[in-house]
Symmetry: D2
Subunit: 360 residues, 4 copies
């Protein structure tokens, strides 16, 4: 269990890092969404490995094939299956860890849970699985674009290097102009150099991805357990290497007083309801209020490093896990489209769920 | 939608702040769990209002009635329904906001989403709803106790007042010895005084609740979307006023290198697998690894304050929302049992889900 | 598990025959449905015991209490909880079967499945549970009535006594004019006498309930697994004592040729699409086509009889189960509102699901 | 929606009759099931078109490819994806019905529901979709075989030709010895000739498939809504062309008295609980009781016939639907493995669900 997501706009993903390929079946996508193959491919390309020297050198075209659910360029309301075949597996690279548990990977927990595991590249626990999320998320983005909703993420921190400005003060159109996906070019340069330095040492470092959603109407999200931010949080925390999530004022809001934190309502010049501040992060009572939705996602340094590490093997013996293979010294540049994809999936689902809130 | 939680150990909650009462139906609880009425009542009492002068003065006994699913002191495998009747509603206290939108409450979003709302005390969006979670969570705790799993939460921060020690350095048995539920008595005293000061000003302040789970076996949590920490995150973010969640190294882990962050495996004197550090927070690949699971939950200052605030009404006119009624100047003391309850519900569900991982 | 039903319009029922009471939580009912308390009560009254000498003599007022989800006479979009307290339990009537397995009851299977059971009146397996379905179904009917959809069931067979006419040839307004709920008065009289005769012998007999749904628009039902008739079938088969389900041409359709069975489309005088025949039973490809939906449900003779029967006890000894207590000699008269309720629940759910089929 | 089935052993199917192919993702299959490729292929071969002159002449090898979830010959607990590519589409055969509604097909309802449809061969509504069910069901059968459970279906009726014996009096090992899949060779011959005669007239005819499940332990199935027979009913009714379902005594049980119908318990020579008769069909209170589970499924004559039929087109004009293409004059021979597959999927799911019934 665990490989399905969503209540109405639902996805079921499958595939292992070094198996035949990975893929996704999307169920519940409404009929009539324009299926823009180029856009979906471009999103996969934003996530694919080998984009620059600060990402893993695994070579994957990450081209996808649609198997169903699309007819004459539009979704038909039936399930949409997409697959991406693995090409550059090099499974033999992993024979040395067939019986070893890599520190802070899922080797040990999968072995104990299932009594068996596909050890090649982490099998199902590999972040390669996120390609399926990006493919499905791209379709969700197309649906949202038809509704005027835009999802944008960017890197705001790498190690201790941190943007001091919030999203509203940044020009997010610059995000895709550099390999780090940080919208401030100078900071992006420093981050790139730092990641490269870490890479050369065979080490890894963490980072933060920020995301902002604009154009969402009032009413998305459900009361109590399925609050919009609760689902966004789950969706983000389900991405490999994520350790934390906060939205709106987040952890910093803890130190504020209610009289400072409350967002006063007013009517703007277009007769629209707005709030003067947005500590709520666009969500009140778990439901979107029409303001920008924004949140931050913390990624740890990835566990794969090019250094030998002490560990144990399946038989309980001490073992040295060798530092070899290919890896991302810092995942956040490639995590940007993944964060966007998961956010889009959450929103598409809530859009559909909200259609049932009122009679007629 | 949104009022149900869990896949196997499932709860459906209902009720409004000023309606007849609130309650929960638990489905999927296995047969044979000892139904300790006193324990469940004691958990409700930990959450109930009016415990000290730093909590809301609403008077509710919060006594529960069991309607089904228990026979001769044990669960029977059929649904367990529990209700808690509201007693001290004072609904007339809310007539002044029948048509007003209180800042940073759910009044506006509910009205827009549903076209109607029970405005009395926030209706369904009130934190009173969490009593149902605590009742269900208490049963989950009883189940977990039979499996040797213990869930403990405590207050680690109120406003800027912050514990410097982590859970392992604290004596958590002291948590319940003070009204703040902070296990360090001196800090608890400072926090109490600070909350009381905020209360006198008719204001509110945020805080942080930490939680630690001990005794969970290896194997709880599911791959990909239903990772243990992703569900814990969703469960916590679904609690009223929560703005952030982090587990293990959390946001601080961002600044670490992989070589520092990785948790080395070793075999202890009892032939058990352990890790030398626990930046993973007891979870690897989304699955518990047998170490302590720990996380932090950030609560904003609650929106209800005893000060007049500018806002609008349902007709789009400017309105002054009056600062009156009863409120908690800081929710974290009462949030401690709620955090524990939600954690217990997540764990009970994953315990049952994990039973199906292997054949036979 | 098993006590929840529906994907969007969802119900969770609870309660045992001789416990505190039974009830239901309805989640996903849209806001704005008029909550007609009298109508809901009248539906419960149609199902309640003690209506005539051919139904069980258990005395239950079956009055319900609403606990949540209704404000100023309308549903609010939040969960609606209703409970019906048990009054005439006479649990001591069941002490003689505490350790015995009654033939063709659920005593043995519950005991084996759960290791424990509430033996009083069959506990959760009692048909008393269906009161909760009727309460929820009544609300679904109110929703459907707003959409112009009418659900009507009636008794078409008791033992070998069988109506020869189909629904279109009958005056269904006569259904409620007699205790059997058969719309043909003369046949109803014969059925009544036959059931009474069976009752005097301490025996029971089976019957068939037919149901017709009029006014459903085109588009309800989902492809593949959640076909409208598949869900109707499941819903009916989930009612106590049901052994079979058929819709449209049913089992008799097996003997027809395709050229006879196919329903030709035509455009009627109002420019509406219709079919000349309706062997499809109003459903094509699992989706309603705008014609009348009709189906039949077979009920076995109930297992409780007033005769001594050979059986075994929990310890594997031979035991004589005594024929005592109260029972329905034939369930179909009281099953009529239950069949309608389950049909209404299925339809309300598909109405809401269908709202998400198309973009915008 | 509608293309997923199951709660724990879950499948998501996809694909259209004349698209790239069809497939399935199985989630929740426990780790450690031997993945017997040959067996799965042999099940697909039992269902594939072109087996004899009484089945459709569409030529499909129906060979499947596994994409994930299997490692070193065993399931790993992660999702198993299988695809079957379409080869003999002849989509141009369908251009004549691009704008026409074939009688008793899903053309009209899909068009109205989705505003668009893949008209080629019925698109998603085609029975070709059942190949995905058979692939998934084959894996479920492998799982069940490890538990000693056997699922066997056979043809008991074609048109008016009907076996007079019940399953216990038949030699089911003869089922696969003839093209009709009727275990009585003489009757099989008559059925074959009759179907062939119908075929020559360009017509179609209905039939009945019986199924028996042996070796299921006590305890499978859930109370109330998810009764074992209710899920079996839904699963069968979801198969294309099915019009009715009955289990145990079925519709005939209606005419029996309770004193005849009740199944008396006794203890056999091996100290095992049994019933002297089995009108219950192996299920009591919705839960398997250890006896044989048996049921019947009614199939209508398929809608595709080789005769011209009057109908309408999408624009509301009268149209003559031409009788051309390829079709099965009677679906029941090929439905046998589909019925078995769906039964196996239901049972595998309940096996896993039952693992959570009791504590520890």
């Amino acid at each position: 269990m665990g490989s399905t997501y969503g209540k109405i706009f639902k996805i079921a993903t499958f595939g292992e890092s070094h198996g035949v390929g990975i893929g996704v079946v999307i169920e519940g996508c409404p009929a009539g969404v324009g299926f823009d193959t180029d856009f979906i491919q471009s999103e996969l390309t934003r996530r694919k490995p080998g984009q620059s020297r600060i990402t893993t050198q695994r070579r994957e075209a990450d081209e996808f094939e649609v198997l169903s659910g699309v007819f004459e360029g539009k979704t038909t309301g039936t399930p949409i299956a997409m697959i991406i075949r693995n090409e550059d597996q090099r499974s033999k690279d992993y024979s040395h860890i067939a019986a070893q548990y890599r520190p802070s990977h899922a080797d040990y927990t999968y072995q104990e849970k299932y009594g068996v595991r596909d050890y090649r590249g982490g099998g199902r626990s590999s972040a390669r699985e996120t390609a399926a999320r990006v493919a499905a998320g791209a379709l969700a983005k197309l649906l949202l674009a038809d509704l005027g909703v835009r999802v944008q993420a960017y890197v705001s921190q790498v190690g201790k290097l941190k943007l001091s400005k919030e999203y509203a003060q940044l020009d997010l159109s610059l995000t895709e102009t550099n390999a780090v996906r940080c919208p401030e070019p100078e900071m992006a340069g420093q981050m790139f150099d730092y990641i490269d330095e870490v890479r050369k040492k065979g080490d890894s470092v963490g980072g933060v991805v920020n995301c902002v959603i604009q154009g969402a109407p009032v009413g998305w999200g459900e009361p109590v357990f399925d609050k919009l931010h609760a689902e966004l949080g789950k969706a983000m925390l389900s991405i490999n290497a994520v350790k934390g999530f906060e939205y709106g004022s987040g952890f910093a809001g803890v130190e504020m007083l209610g009289s400072e934190h409350n967002d006063a309502f007013f009517i703007d010049g277009n007769e629209k309801v707005h709030t003067r501040t947005n500590h709520s992060g666009g969500i009140q009572g778990g439901i979107s209020n029409g303001e920008d939705i924004y949140f931050k996602v913390a990624f740890k340094p990835v566990a794969t490093i090019m250094q030998d590490q002490e560990s144990i093997d399946q038989h309980g013996n001490i073992a040295i896990v060798q530092g070899k293979g290919r890896h991302d010294p810092c995942v956040v540049p490639r995590a940007v489209p993944i964060v966007e994809a998961m956010a889009a999936l959450v929103l598409a689902d809530f859009y559909l769920r909200n259609k049932t809130s009122k009679l007629a």
